[in-house]
Symmetry: C2
Subunit: 88 residues, 2 copies
């Protein structure tokens, strides 16, 4: 499923034009991205929760050169599936 598939669902279920449906999807995704950008957690019961956690990883590996690589800290988005997504 890609973004356009979701847009089509909106079109069918609401009768909106493709552009209007696309706008709906973008609005929702953008508001979620913005919340995460502000280090805010998101919790949607029955779907999932997302939250920002500090990144501590220290090493990785460059396969080609077969040597370790230093990984800088930062932030990560932690995802946790909600109940509905656990019953799969």
């Amino acid at each position: 499923m890609i973004k356009n598939d979701i847009v089509q669902v909106i079109e069918k279920k609401t009768g909106f034009s493709r552009m209007k449906a696309l706008k709906m999807v973008e609005l929702i995704l953008n508001s979620m991205k913005e919340a995460l950008s502000n280090n805010e957690k998101i919790e949607i019961r029955g779907f999932a929760s997302f939250k920002i956690v500090p990144k501590k990883s220290g090493f990785g590996r460059d396969i080609r050169r077969k040597k370790q690589i230093r990984i800088k800290g930062g932030k990560r988005v932690k995802f946790r599936p909600g109940q509905d997504l656990k019953k799969l």
Copy 2:
């Protein structure tokens, strides 16, 4: 951020009633849940991708009894943040 926060964004940006805005959010989340239920992966460029992967974990732990617990296989939803969510 909770579901209602997203609904409010839709209300403001579109002028929809709360109920209509809520319906939009539900429609989108449900279509995503349904896709995952069908073992379908979801890929939204710039946001994130979700896909179903087999659960292989074999052990867990019961704190109270302090002993290992066998964990049965199943499915998991793997989440990968898109580019926009990595620039946080």
